[in-house]
């Protein structure tokens, strides 16, 4: 176990390659990447008068771990919804009265357009996501939850379903795969329990494991580790890294800076719906603007310090939060 937790393992060859692949990219918002797996243009989403997301151009590099960070309400989840087909951009092309074609929302995944595509189709293309507020399938067992994630199941066809031999082999295969993942996510003992009976953090874990079952080309995790025990988080990060090393692209939203720093090859910062910065994690996280707007002055401080309890500090914090608000605010 301690090997898993101990000192940061030496970067693997694949990891180094991943880092290197974006090393030459200049850290500017919307910058083109050498080998983008996802390219989106003109993604705008308005709620009433408020613009929640406004991303003119963004590329996600293939085979690396990209973190999407930003203050609360920056539009990260909405952005996820938009590119995975769970929500429709306000700028989506429409039959009548839509935006001009060069202003219309466009997204390319893995070289093919996924514009206006339903969520299920997007997922079939290999872009699989998890939800910030977990969606466990309560009255199914944990194992069944997992099996649902798997692709290419002949038994999911109504006509083949009645005849077990047609799908039994694949079923055995994915069951083994599922048990493997559950083991890793510390859920194996729970495999025959109803998913509804899991704790908050366990549901998060299950959701992530379930998404991995489909062996996606790109996985999009919305705050995967919020509420997950730190010790477990650490071991899971290792797993995510190894997935990257096997070629999977990872895009995740996270507020835990240690984690972002630890595993991400590239960081995209969003605020008030826009991409305000991107670059390698260290660069971005040492950027004073990002620190001011997002990380705050105390993110490295021990909060147990009584000196932090003065009114001045409180005010300072309030100011920081307000700064974040302003960035995020209604402009």
């Amino acid at each position: 176990m301690s090997t898993d937790l101990g000192v940061t393992p030496a970067p693997t060859k694949a990891a180094a390659a991943a880092t290197a692949s974006v090393a030459a990219v200049s850290p500017l918002p919307g910058v083109p990447k050498p080998d983008p797996i996802l390219v989106v243009d003109n993604i705008v989403r308005q709620f009433g008068g408020m613009t929640a997301v406004n991303v003119p151009h963004l590329e996600v590099q293939r085979g690396i771990i990209t973190a999407l960070i930003g203050p609360n309400g920056a539009g990260k989840t909405t952005f996820f919804n938009l590119i995975t087909g769970f929500d429709k951009p306000s700028s989506a092309p429409r039959l009548i009265g839509g935006p001009k074609s060069d202003h219309a929302a466009r997204s390319m995944f893995n070289g093919r357009s996924v514009n206006n595509m339903g969520a299920a189709k997007v997922a079939q293309r290999g872009m699989v996501r998890t939800f910030q507020l977990t969606k466990a399938l309560s009255r199914l067992t944990v194992l069944e939850n997992m099996l649902l994630g798997a692709k290419d199941q002949p038994g999911e066809n109504l006509f083949a379903a009645v005849i077990k031999p047609l799908w039994a082999a694949r079923e055995r295969e994915i069951t083994a795969q599922a048990e493997d993942l559950l083991q890793r996510f510390k859920l194996l003992e729970k495999k025959n329990d109803m998913a509804g009976s899991l704790s908050g953090g366990q549901k998060k874990l299950l959701e992530m494991a379930r998404a991995l079952m489909s062996e996606p080309t790109m996985i999009m995790l919305d705050e995967p580790m919020a509420g997950v025990n730190p010790a477990l988080t650490q071991s899971l990060l290792g797993h995510i890294k190894s997935l990257r090393d096997e070629g999977m692209t990872v895009l995740f939203v996270e507020h835990d800076m240690h984690m972002v720093r630890h595993i991400s090859d590239w960081v995209v910062v969003m605020a008030e719906g826009k991409v305000v910065a991107e670059g390698p994690s260290a660069t971005v996280m040492d950027d004073q603007a990002v620190i001011d707007a997002y990380l705050g002055a105390h993110h490295d401080t021990d909060l147990g310090d009584d000196s932090l309890l003065t009114d001045e500090v409180a005010e300072e914090l309030a100011k920081e939060v307000e700064l974040e608000n302003r960035t995020e605010g209604d402009a």
């Binding site: 989840t77 919804n81 769970f86 929500d87 939800f131 910030q132 507020l133 919305d222």
Partner: protein
């Protein structure tokens, strides 16, 4: 006691008393009027001079001739030939003519057009002379329709063709008819809204589709029948007592059934089946105690007022007024008051509501009580306005109530109002354009169509994903 002191005293009374007095006055006045009408009507049909009674050996050939304005045409001469012997008759004061025959067979009836009242002519559609087949033990007749204008009695040969030529919608569509039906629509809509508010509230707070809600409405109507008609209580008092008793049934229902079940965590689908069971039990309880017949809360005929081309009964107007007032009060209560907000909070998230210091059970108890009370009130008014209640009145309206609630967006009071108005109007106006048979079907179709455009109902809101 001087008139002056009397006046001060009345001013101190509840306004409802005054309304009551007013209503009584109108009632008495109209009773008098109606009495007059009745006597004149019976006078018009008094004592025909020729009366034929068909039996085994006699048949009757008979008819009544009326002027185009509906008055009897007196003194018109007719000749009846065939069978025994030709006979000439004159219509009596009621416009009636008739002859007894003892031989079955064809007879010819000829009307002497010269004896028609001045200004009246035979309608062109009438064949004169007319042939009828007389039979023993039956009445046979033919109609000589008169028209007031100078239409010629010449030409027409064939008997009138079947039925009315107007479209399936029946009758002519006039503005008056439209307005009258629209008024009925508004009335039905308002009462439906009142009946559905409770349904909506219960759904809103607990997520339960209460299939026994219709029976709560019926209960209101039947209780009012027992109190007002059977026990002879004053109508307002009866209505008031009914609402109180109905509210109490809501209270005890929650205490005895729903609260314990909530505690045991029964899912809503299961609870829905429980309400179906309750609905069955209540339906048969009504049959058991009251019987299966339609009963009338108020035996008196409706007293009407005319507003332009619209005729509505005073009770309808009262009912509509009360419904509007109550719905607005309930709606505002939900939106503005603290308890109202708590109600919505409970519906959103009961355990968090409890964690906010809300006594969830008390709120739900209140909702059940209010819903049952409102349903009872609606039952009373529906019973009055629809002129009767029986054990399945509420049951028959339940689907419309659900439709109204859904159309407006599940769980909102004003939504129920809007939805009910639409449903009420559609139901009452359908027969202007479609066969009246389909009036409920049309309302349901409209519901489906609206949901296609606005899947969350008119006032409902979409949920956020993720």
């Amino acid at each position: 006691m001087t008139p002056f002191t009397q006046r001060t005293r009345t001013a101190g009374l509840l306004s409802s008393r005054r309304m009551l007095a007013g209503l009584l006055l109108i009632g008495v006045a109209s009773l008098g009027l109606m009495g007059l009408g009745a006597t004149s009507a019976s006078a018009a049909t008094a004592t025909p001079t020729t009366k034929c009674v068909a039996d085994a050996t006699t048949g009757c050939i008979q008819g009544t001739i009326k002027q185009s304005n509906g008055d009897p045409a007196v003194g018109v001469k007719l000749t009846i030939a065939g069978g025994d012997a030709p006979e000439t008759l004159t219509t009596d004061a009621a416009g009636k003519w008739g002859v007894a025959i003892t031989v079955a067979g064809p007879y010819t009836v000829t009307l002497d057009t010269t004896t028609l009242p001045s200004g009246e002519t035979l309608d062109p559609s009438v064949t004169n002379p007319a042939t009828v087949t007389g039979g023993l033990g039956r009445n046979t007749g033919t109609i000589f329709k008169l028209s007031g204008s100078g239409g010629s009695s010449s030409g027409s040969t064939s008997a009138p063709t079947t039925g009315d030529t107007s479209a399936a919608t029946g009758g002519s569509v006039t503005w008056e008819r439209f307005l009258q039906q629209a008024a009925s629509g508004i009335r039905l809509g308002l009462l439906l809204a009142l009946a559905s508010v409770g349904l909506s509230l219960i759904y809103g707070t607990t997520g339960l589709s209460n299939f026994a809600h219709g029976e709560q409405v019926t209960l209101g109507g039947l209780l009012a029948f027992v109190l007002a008609n059977q026990l002879g209580l004053n109508l307002f008092l009866a209505a008031f007592l009914t609402v109180v008793v109905c509210a109490a049934t809501g209270y005890f229902q929650d205490a005895l059934i729903w609260k314990p079940l909530r505690k045991r965590g029964l899912p809503n689908t299961q609870l829905m089946i429980v309400t179906i069971g309750l609905s069955i039990a209540l339906q048969y309880a009504f049959q058991f105690f009251i019987g299966a017949k339609t009963v009338r809360i108020d035996k008196a005929n409706p007293v009407t007022v005319e507003i332009g081309p619209i005729t509505l009964s005073v009770q309808s107007l009262w009912a509509m007024g009360i419904a509007v007032a109550v719905i607005i009060l309930v709606g505002l209560f939900l939106l503005r008051s603290r308890i109202g907000r708590a109600t919505r909070a409970v519906s959103d998230n009961p355990s968090l509501a409890a964690a906010s210091g809300i006594d969830v059970d008390a709120i739900i108890r209140l909702v059940w009580t209010a819903s049952a009370g409102l349903a009872g009130l609606a039952g009373v008014m529906l019973g009055l306005v629809l002129n009767g209640v029986n054990w399945q009145t509420g049951l028959q309206l339940l689907l419309l109530m659900f439709a109204a609630v859904t159309l407006g967006g599940l769980g909102t009071a004003f939504g129920a109002l809007a939805g009910a108005m639409i449903i009420g109007m559609v139901v009452e106006l359908t027969n202007l354009v479609l066969p009246g048979d389909f009036k409920y079907a049309t309302a349901l179709l409209i519901l489906i169509l609206v949901l296609l455009v606005r899947p969350q109902g008119i006032f409902g809101r979409r949920e956020r994903i993720g």
